[in-house]
């Protein structure tokens, strides 16, 4: 037990530390000597230097996803990108129809935006994923209608890490001239994205999920065929009118650097992270009543989502204060509701309650994995010794046959 820094961070899907190289580039923009100008100021060198830095960053973001830099619109983050894409398309193209298709396991930024559109008179189909978290393309096709204007499906799920077949969905949408939006907040830098071949029209990105700063994101908006949007933030006409507001130069520069590093290191990093993730799973998978949530093959390297049956999630987290993990999405963990993503996969409330999401990243090491395996095993065993449900399971009682006195 040597160099472990506690608590060990296993929550890279909630947010990542800023890479040192990124922080350095950002700080250069934040001093009086650096590029502190307003990039919209066209009349002086302070503004021009900032604009150049912004455009270089735009190039880095575009390069990772093989897009034209002119197709990148800066936003305050993936949540805003999702809002801009979905509301922007819905409002602009409403004369073509008012039907939208998405999936029950999308991020709240997509689901809550769709709910708002329903209040405005749009109709939304929420697809059920298969039990492994993937979407059955036949069900998607069956949901498409003449008045469908938009399909919004995330590339990688934030809770279970499964990768949807974006290329195939893109083909299906393009054939029917339906606009296709993809939330790629969890996939950029983790799985290849090539927008020259993938028929995606709009794609949302976040910086703080790939070692960049919080408060900055981007929306890819395809030029050919051209996608139009109604802006949701107005005034100033920044970002070709699609997103007004002073751009935070240091944050954009940070996002650019993060994407540059991701392009350079992705393959190597993925291999390393995959080994760590598999080592962690190997440590758990032989335990009794352990369930992997989400497909194992179509999954990003850094994600492991496991349910430990007959153990309650919050008490498990309490026993694991030496590791920082999430039980479901960070954005819903303040409430006592079980994860809606796991419920959508058909997991019981109990299994959803007892799930842990481990997300592994750039700074995770083998020692931390081994420490965590022991820690989790001991905690699960201890809590099962305390659990009347575990006793009943051991006695062979089917818990579903018990009439529980709900309170």
């Amino acid at each position: 037990m040597s160099n472990l820094k506690l608590p060990i961070y296993f929550d890279y899907s909630a947010t990542t530390p800023v890479d040192e190289r990124v922080a350095e580039e950002m700080i250069k923009c934040m001093t009086v000597e650096g590029n502190f100008g307003n990039p919209a100021s066209r009349s002086h060198a302070f503004g021009w230097n900032s604009e150049e830095a912004v455009e270089t960053a735009r190039g880095h973001v575009a390069a990772l996803i093989n897009a034209d830099p002119r197709e990148i619109v800066w936003t305050s983050g993936a949540t805003e990108s999702d809002n801009l894409a979905i509301k922007g398309v819905a409002h602009f193209y409403q004369k073509n129809g008012k039907h939208i298709i998405t999936c029950k396991t999308e991020h709240k930024a997509v689901l809550d935006t769709c709910r708002q559109l329903e209040r405005e008179g749009y109709e939304v189909t929420y697809l059920d994923p298969e039990p492994n978290g993937l979407i059955d393309l036949n069900k998607l096709v069956a949901a498409m209608r003449d008045d469908t204007i938009l399909v919004s499906i995330m590339h990688v799920n934030n809770e279970i890490g499964v990768i949807q077949d974006i290329a195939a969905i893109g083909e299906l949408c393009r054939e029917r001239k339906i606009i296709f939006h993809v939330d790629a907040a969890q996939s950029a830098g983790k799985t290849p994205i090539d927008l020259q071949t993938m028929k995606v029209d709009l794609m949302s990105f976040s910086a703080h999920k790939i070692y960049g700063p919080k408060g900055i994101g981007a929306l890819y908006v395809r030029r050919k065929p051209r996608i139009r949007l109604e802006a949701q933030m107005h005034g100033g006409g920044h970002e070709r009118g699609m997103r007004s507001g002073t751009l935070a130069t240091h944050q954009i520069v940070g996002m650019g650097e993060a994407f540059r590093i991701a392009k350079q290191d992705m393959q190597e990093e993925n291999e390393r992270i995959m080994k760590l993730r598999n080592r962690l799973w190997d440590g758990f998978k032989d335990m009794e009543e352990v369930y992997l949530n989400g497909d194992f093959e179509h999954r990003i390297a850094g994600n492991l989502n496991v349910s430990f049956n007959f153990v309650e999630g919050e008490s498990l987290i309490m026993a694991l204060k030496d590791i920082a993990v999430s039980s479901g999405s960070a954005c819903t963990s303040a409430s006592l509701e079980p994860s809606y993503v796991l419920r959508a996969l058909g997991r019981s409330d109990e299994l959803a309650h007892s799930s842990l999401r481990f997300t592994i990243g750039r700074y995770t090491n083998e020692e931390e994995i081994d420490y965590t395996i022991d820690l989790v095993k001991n905690a699960v065993n201890k809590l099962r010794d305390l659990s009347p449900l575990w006793d009943m399971f051991k006695e062979g009682i089917d818990l579903n046959s018990v009439e529980w006195a709900a309170h």
Partner: protein
């Protein structure tokens, strides 16, 4: 979620974890809650011939506050008469453990578990 020191203590060193034979005539068993709600408590008491609770044990599936609440009541019940045990109210438990408002239901569950165990015992005696 910030837990009080007392909750942490009971959670880390739960008192009286265990099982009594539920078929014994001097044992009362109360099981309350539901897995879908995230907590299930099983509280058991062993009662002497003169009506004193000699032993109390529990097992709980639930959050730290639920575990602490049930652990605490097993301590409190020992040596009490059945009537005295039934005087233990959820507010006493919540106060002792400094439970935050969102966790008060755990103390309610513990109170329910006491009633259920006592009633189970009395039913056996009557039967």
């Amino acid at each position: 979620m910030a837990y009080s020191e007392k909750v942490m203590d009971h959670y880390e060193n739960p008192r009286n974890v265990g099982v009594l034979n539920k078929d014994d005539s001097n044992v009362g068993t109360g099981m309350v809650g539901a897995p879908a709600c995230g907590d299930v408590m099983r509280l058991q008491i062993q009662v002497s011939d003169d009506g004193i609770i000699e032993n109390a044990v529990f097992k709980t599936y639930g959050c730290g506050s639920a575990i602490a609440s049930s652990s605490l009541v097993t301590e409190w019940m020992k040596g009490k008469t059945l009537d005295e045990a039934r005087q233990i109210k959820n507010l006493d438990i919540a106060e002792e453990l400094a439970l935050p408002p969102v966790k008060v239901h755990c103390s309610v569950l513990a109170e329910d578990a006491i009633s259920a165990a006592v009633e189970d015992y009395l039913k056996k005696q009557a039967g």
